[in-house]
C-alpha cells in the first residue's frame, strides 16, 4: 500500500511560466530538437557526390542497415564494452568508495588524488595507454609478460582477443574515480542511525552493506550507472586513438562506425541512420534499467 503525497516544488513557481521558460525552450529547440529532426530527415536522404547534393532515398538507408553485418558487429562490440566496463567500474567504484569513506588522516588526500584521472583529456589517456601497452617497451605489457599472463608474441592491441580489453583498461582507469566520487558523496549523505540500530540488531558488516547501505545508496547508484552507461555507449576517443577499430573490426564501436560512414565515406544519410538507431538502443536500455532498478525510497 502506497500513500500518494503532494510534492512541493523545490524552486520558485510562477503563474505565468512561459516568459521564464522561453530561453530554455529556445536552447532546447536549437540544440536538441532541431538536430534530432534534421537527423531523422537525413536518414531518408543520401549525399550524391557527383551531383553534390542530398537526394531522397526513402527507406534505403534503413534496409541497408538491417542487412549490414559490420553495423551489427559494431553494435556487438559496443554492447560488450558497455556491459563489461560498466560492471567493473560500478563494482570497483563502490569498493573504493567504501574504503575511502573515512575521516582518518590521509584519506582526504587519497580522495583528492583519485580525481586526477578526470582532468586528463580522454584522447591523451588513449595515447598514454597506447604507449603503456606497446609490445616493445610498454609497462603494462612488461608486467603482464612477467606475470606470465601474456605471451611475448601477443601484442595486446594488435591481437583480436585482447585488443578490446586493452581499450577497456584505459576507460576503467579514467572513469572509475568518477564513480568513486559520486558514491562517496552518496555515502556521506546517508543517515547514521540505521547503522547503529543494525549493529545492535547483530548484523555483520556484509549484512549491513547488503541490507542497509546498498538500498540506501540505490538512487545514487542508479544515477551513476545511467550517466556512465550512456557515456560508454558513445565511446569513441579511446578506440580512435588506440586501435582505430582494429585489428580487423575487433574494436569497431558503433560511434566509430558512424563516424567512418559519415566522414570517411561521406555517407551522411547512412551515418545519421546509424546514430539514430544507437539513440533508440540507448533510450531502450536506459528505460529498461529505470524500470528494473525500481529505486524505492
Amino acid at each position: 500500500m502506497h500513500v500518494t503525497e503532494k510534492k512541493f516544488s523545490r524552486f520558485v513557481s510562477s503563474d505565468h511560466p512561459l516568459p521564464w521558460l522561453a530561453p530554455l525552450l529556445a536552447m532546447l529547440v536549437t540544440f536538441t530538437i532541431y538536430p534530432l529532426i534534421y537527423n531523422i530527415w537525413l536518414s531518408f536522404h543520401e549525399y550524391a557526390p557527383f551531383k553534390r547534393r542530398l537526394e531522397f532515398v526513402g527507406w534505403d538507408n534503413w534496409s541497408t542497415l538491417i542487412g549490414d553485418d559490420r553495423f551489427w558487429a559494431s553494435m556487438g562490440v559496443t554492447l560488450l564494452y558497455f556491459a563489461v566496463v560498466l560492471t567493473i567500474e560500478l563494482i570497483l567504484g563502490l569498493a573504493l568508495a567504501l574504503l575511502l569513506d573515512s575521516e582518518d588522516f590521509g584519506f582526504g588526500f587519497l580522495r583528492g588524488l583519485l580525481t586526477m584521472t578526470l582532468v586528463v583529456p580522454p584522447a591523451i589517456t588513449g595515447m598514454m595507454f597506447l604507449l603503456m601497452e606497446d609490445p616493445e617497451f610498454g609497462v603494462i605489457t612488461y608486467v603482464l609478460e612477467t606475470l606470465g599472463i601474456l605471451s611475448s608474441t601477443q601484442p595486446i592491441l594488435a591481437s583480436p582477443s585482447t585488443a578490446l580489453m586493452g581499450v577497456m583498461l584505459a576507460d576503467i582507469w579514467q572513469w572509475t574515480p568518477f564513480m568513486v566520487l559520486i558514491f562517496i558523496a552518496g555515502l556521506r549523505s546517508l543517515p547514521q542511525e540505521p547503522y547503529e540500530a543494525a549493529m545492535l540488531d547483530g548484523a555483520s558488516g556484509w549484512q549491513i552493506f547488503r541490507r542497509i547501505t546498498l538500498p540506501l545508496l540505490s538512487k545514487v547508484i542508479a544515477v551513476a550507472v545511467l550517466i556512465r552507461g550512456i557515456d560508454l555507449f558513445r565511446m569513441f576517443d579511446y578506440v580512435f586513438v588506440m586501435t582505430s577499430g582494429g585489428p580487423g573490426t575487433a574494436t569497431y564501436t558503433v560511434s566509430l562506425y558512424a563516424w567512418q560512414q559519415t566522414f570517411s565515406f561521406i555517407k551522411w544519410g547512412y551515418g545519421a541512420t546509424i546514430s539514430l538507431v544507437t539513440l533508440l538502443v540507448i533510450i531502450f536500455i536506459a528505460n529498461l534499467f529505470i524500470y528494473l532498478a525500481k529505486v524505492r525510497w
Binding site: 540505521p194 547503529e196 540500530a197 543494525a198 545492535l200 547483530g202 548484523a203 538500498p215 540505490s218 525510497w297
Partner: protein, 354 residues
C-alpha cells in the same frame, strides 16, 4: 546481583563534559528507570551502555565483564532509540524482523514473532508500509517492536512512549511492564515523564546535569527525597516549598516563615536558627474545619476525581489536592491541615534533606 555496573563513568564531547564520575549498579532482572530533565545525559548514558558512544573515563561492566572496548554487536543488547532509527528502505515487517533475519531464524518463526509483536503494538495493519508512510507514534511503535522480538540480555529504552497519545501510552506502559515481568530481562528505561517512572520502575535513578541526584525505589524518592531537587521533580502537582527558619519554642523545634508557624516533631534533626526549606506535598495537605494554616482560595483546577486548589496564605502560594466535593469558590477562606509525618525539611544552603 548487579548486572550492569557503571564505575566512575565520565563522558566528554571535546571540551564539553556531559557525565562525570557516575557510579550506578543496575540489578539483574530489574526494571531501572533513568529520569531527568532534557539534556541531563540520559541518552548519552544509554548510548555508552550500548557501545554507540565511546566512554571517556571509568569502566562499564555487564555481567562482570568489562565492556568499554566491546563492539555493540557483541553486547547482546536491544535498544529503542529516541529518534527511532528505523531502516528507511525496509517495510515495517522487515524492520521488526531484521534482527531475526540476520540471526538466520526460519521464515515461519520470524513471521510468527513479527505478527505477535505487531498485534501487541497495534501495528498489524501497517506491516507492509515503509517508515516514511507512518506517523510519529506509529514509527515509535515499530522501534518498540524491533526490540520486543529480540531475546537480548539487556533492554535499553530511550523515551519509547514520548510520541504516543495518553491512552496508548497507558496501554503501552502496561504492555512493557508485563513483558518485563514475563521475560525478567534487565532493563534500563529512559524517560522524563515522572508518572512513567513512578508506575513502571523497580528503581528510579534521578539524574541532574550528568550526575545522579538520588536513586531508589519510587516510594523512596517520593517519601524521602534526598534533595530539594528530587522533591521538586517527583510528584504532580509539584511539591510546595516554604522558606523559613527553625525556632525553639519550649524546647520543641518550630518551623517559622513569614506567614506560617508550625511545630515540628521533637526528634527533628534541624537546629534552632537554621535556615530551611519546608516541602509539603499537595496531597499531604488537607482542607479542614480547623487547621494549621489559614488561606484564601485563588483558583480551583478540576482534574476529574480531584481538584487542585491554588491557595494563598499571606504571600505564600500553596497547592492542595482535595476531593472534588470540597466546595472552594474563589475568594473563600479555608483552613489547611498539615500531615506532620510527611513534612520534608531541606537545608536552605545545601538543599539536602535534614
Amino acid at each position: 546481583m548487579p548486572h550492569i555496573e557503571f564505575n566512575k563513568i565520565t563522558k566528554d564531547y571535546g571540551a564539553v563534559n556531559v557525565i562525570r564520575d557516575l557510579d550506578l549498579a543496575v540489578e539483574d532482572g530489574h526494571f531501572t528507570v533513568l529520569l531527568g530533565t532534557s539534556g541531563c545525559g540520559k541518552t548519552t548514558l544509554l548510548r555508552m551502555t550500548a557501545g554507540l558512544e565511546t566512554i571517556t573515563g571509568g569502566e562499564l561492566t555487564i555481567g562482570n565483564q568489562r565492556m568499554n572496548e566491546v563492539h555493540p554487536r557483541d553486547r547482546d543488547i536491544a535498544m529503542v532509540f529516541q529518534n527511532y532509527a528505523l531502516y528507511p528502505t525496509m517495510s515495517v515487517r522487515e524492520n521488526i524482523g531484521f534482527s531475526l533475519e540476520v540471526a538466520k531464524m526460519s521464515k515461519g518463526e520470524t513471521a510468527k514473532k513479527v505478527n505477535e509483536a505487531a498485534a501487541v503494538l497495534n501495528l498489524t495493519d501497517f506491516l507492509d508500509r515503509y517508515p516514511r508512510e507512518l506517523s510519529g507514534g506509529q514509527r515509535q511503535r515499530v522501534a518498540m517492536g524491533r526490540a520486543m522480538v529480540r531475546e537480548a540480555s539487556v533492554f535499553l529504552f530511550d523515551e519509547p512512549l514520548s510520541n504516543l497519545d495518553a491512552k496508548l501510552r497507558a496501554h503501552m506502559r502496561l504492555e512493557i511492564r508485563q513483558l518485563h515481568d514475563r521475560l525478567k530481562t534487565t532493563t534500563l528505561y529512559v524517560t522524563h515523564d515522572q508518572i512513567e517512572a513512578m508506575t513502571m520502575a523497580d528503581k528510579i535513578v534521578l539524574m541532574k546535569d550528568g550526575k545522579i541526584e538520588q536513586s531508589g525505589s519510587p516510594d523512596d524518592l517520593y517519601d524521602r527525597p534526598a534533595t530539594k531537587y528530587v522533591a521538586d521533580f517527583i510528584g504532580s502537582p509539584a511539591i510546595n516549598f516554604i522558606h523559613g527558619t527553625i525556632e525553639a519554642e519550649n524546647g520543641t523545634p518550630v518551623f517559622a516563615s513569614v506567614d506560617i508557624r508550625y511545630p515540628l516533631a521533637p526528634d527533628c534533626a534541624a537546629q534552632p536558627g537554621q535556615a530551611v526549606i519546608c516541602g509539603l506535598r499537595p496531597s499531604d495537605l488537607e482542607i479542614a474545619v480547623t487547621g494549621d494554616i489559614s488561606a484564601t482560595v485563588m483558583l480551583a483546577e478540576k482534574t476529574g476525581a480531584e481538584q487542585n486548589l491554588h491557595l494563598k496564605a499571606g504571600e505564600q502560594h500553596l497547592i492542595v489536592v482535595a476531593d472534588r466535593a470540597v466546595p472552594a469558590p474563589t475568594g473563600q477562606s479555608v483552613d489547611v491541615r498539615i500531615n506532620t509525618d510527611r513534612i520534608h525539611l531541606f537545608d536552605a544552603m545545601t538543599e539536602q534533606r535534614i
